[in-house]
Symmetry: C2
């Protein structure tokens, strides 16, 4: 028997990815409702393998009638509509940050903590960058206990949605043509540029960005290390899809590079891509469209006692968002 599925934010980058995955992963559907803004209601959304879906306006009764509701719109939409969806009997999977930090709301990557997925009620899917980094760290943490984390990211334009991706393309065309580059969506030009500014700045966190703090807060919750010392610098790069991260991790116990590679190669959801001699290492181009998170450049960090350096690339719309949310539902169905 299938599920009555609702997708909130079906026209966004994550919603679109989720619709594709519902099809390609043959998720068992009794019904599929797609919700958009009041303005978009009545319009249609293409869906591979079937007739287009008609966008419905968000409405409490329709949400309550779903057995699986995916929230793929922003935190604001989730804050308003998740509580209404929770009045029903279904499982609500929120990909926004709205409820991730509530102590009673499980934050789940199924490969890490599937046991925390409730039969009904709310579960939060983590921040895209955090998902990729935490998934790569989990097998190492299990063996050697993570004690400190330093991360610098390389985040794709589509992390800021379809508008971000379109802006990168338009800016790049303009730059190549020697024309003026217009900046609308991003704080700075992204074509042939990088900037250390993803999400807003938080003066109360010493002017770290919210993205940088999400990495701290959510890694701590996911790995059940509430005091984990953590620092990140999050940087937008002119990549269309897939985020990457340079990770410097310190551990309580010693791990050789060989042990680390073995643990990563066996890690669920991971693909070890680590053959420098053959110029094989993770890149966002290779990670784009892949389910697995790529991890490589595994080496000893010579600057501390029990440290490892890694490089990670993962499709932030897939494992970083839509795929993780869907895997939560698949796990709950078992």
């Amino acid at each position: 028997m299938g599920q009555r599925v609702g997708v909130v934010g079906a026209t966004g980058a994550v919603g679109q990815e989720l619709l594709g995955l519902l099809h390609t992963r043959a998720y068992p559907l009794d019904a599929l409702h797609v919700f958009g803004s009041p303005a978009s209601a009545g319009g249609s959304v293409p869906w591979p393998g079937r007739e287009p879906l008609t966008l419905e306006a968000l409405e409490a009764g329709a949400l309550r009638a779903c057995s699986r509701v995916f929230f793929c719109a922003g935190a604001e939409v989730s804050r308003t509509w998740v509580p209404r969806a929770l009045e029903g009997e279904g499982l609500v999977i929120d990909s926004s940050s709205a409820f991730r930090y509530e102590p009673e709301v499980p934050l789940v990557i199924p490969e890490l903590n599937a046991a925390e997925i409730p039969a009904r009620g709310l579960v939060a899917s983590p921040n895209c960058t955090t998902t990729l980094v935490a998934l790569a760290l989990a097998p190492l943490h299990r063996r050697a206990r993570l004690t400190r984390l330093v991360v610098a990211t390389y985040q794709a334009a589509s992390g800021a949605g379809a508008a971000g991706l379109a802006e990168l393309t338009a800016q790049t065309r303009a730059a190549l043509a020697g024309e003026e580059v217009h900046v609308e969506h991003f704080p700075r030009p992204l074509a042939f540029n990088v900037f250390p500014h993803v999400d807003g700045f938080l003066p109360e966190e010493g002017w770290a960005t919210r993205e940088e703090m999400k990495l701290t807060w959510e890694t701590r919750k996911l790995l059940d290390l509430p005091e984990l010392p953590c620092v990140a610098t999050c940087v937008r790069v002119p990549v269309q899809r897939a985020h990457s991260a340079a990770v410097f991790a310190e551990f309580a116990e010693a791990l050789t590079v060989e042990q680390a590679r073995e643990a990563l190669a066996a890690g669920p959801g991971l693909r070890l891509v680590d053959d420098p001699q053959a110029a094989r290492y993770p890149t966002p181009l290779e990670a784009s469209g892949a389910d697995a998170v790529l991890v490589g450049r595994v080496r000893k960090d010579p600057s501390c006692a029990r440290g490892l350096a890694l490089f990670v690339s993962g499709d932030q719309l897939r494992k970083g968002a839509a795929l993780n949310a869907l895997q939560i539902a698949e796990q709950a169905d078992r």
Copy 2:
């Protein structure tokens, strides 16, 4: 009285930049000889403000006759020809890595260690990325003594010379047109991609890259910290010009963020660009063509006792190469 200047590798990216700077900084010239490969000899090189220069084939006598010789070709050319230039009475400034690690050869960033510049003989100009990072760290190190350094870089295509820049442009055009992307110069496609592979891999250094080890070796020599614990992941990004780095630095003594900002604002060769509220921070686009190295995103690293996080962008062809070499000569002239 002016100098008899020789520029080896005058047609390369750094050589071209140096010729431009000799003009714009009005370096006092009695003669200007430009040297190229035997094949290029007799050809001409445009030079702003004067008639084109005629390329000469490398020849020991001509090198010996120069009072200032700039080597801007690769390490191999330097290994062969620097010893011959040193048979003369001039100052030889080598921008390649050929002699940087010889204990008796001074490695110089004039803002840091101008006193080490000899009146004649050999001086090495450091690796581009290292120059930018070390220049930013110097004022902090002077106040609080650097004890550990973690760096992740964002390196521009032109760090691989004019051919790298041309390949990024060609690949980007092809990618936007939906055509096949050709990879020749770089190990992987760079258009809309990043890859953690700058310079070759060193199995004997745990498969770190040479660029990553240059950052370690040269920072240690520049800051006179031969044991400094240091780790780096060096990443090529689709930026045309100017390298950036996310820097996590630990110190022996406590520095507040305010003290760090003051030290950086007063640091020679640096420009503090650090007003997140106004979306002001270093970016490679803003650093391109600038003499100063931009430093910002200065904040406490909450993951360790006396750590600071920074973001640095600098023009690797200017301060990272040609400008630093010329400043060495200017300093020697005083």
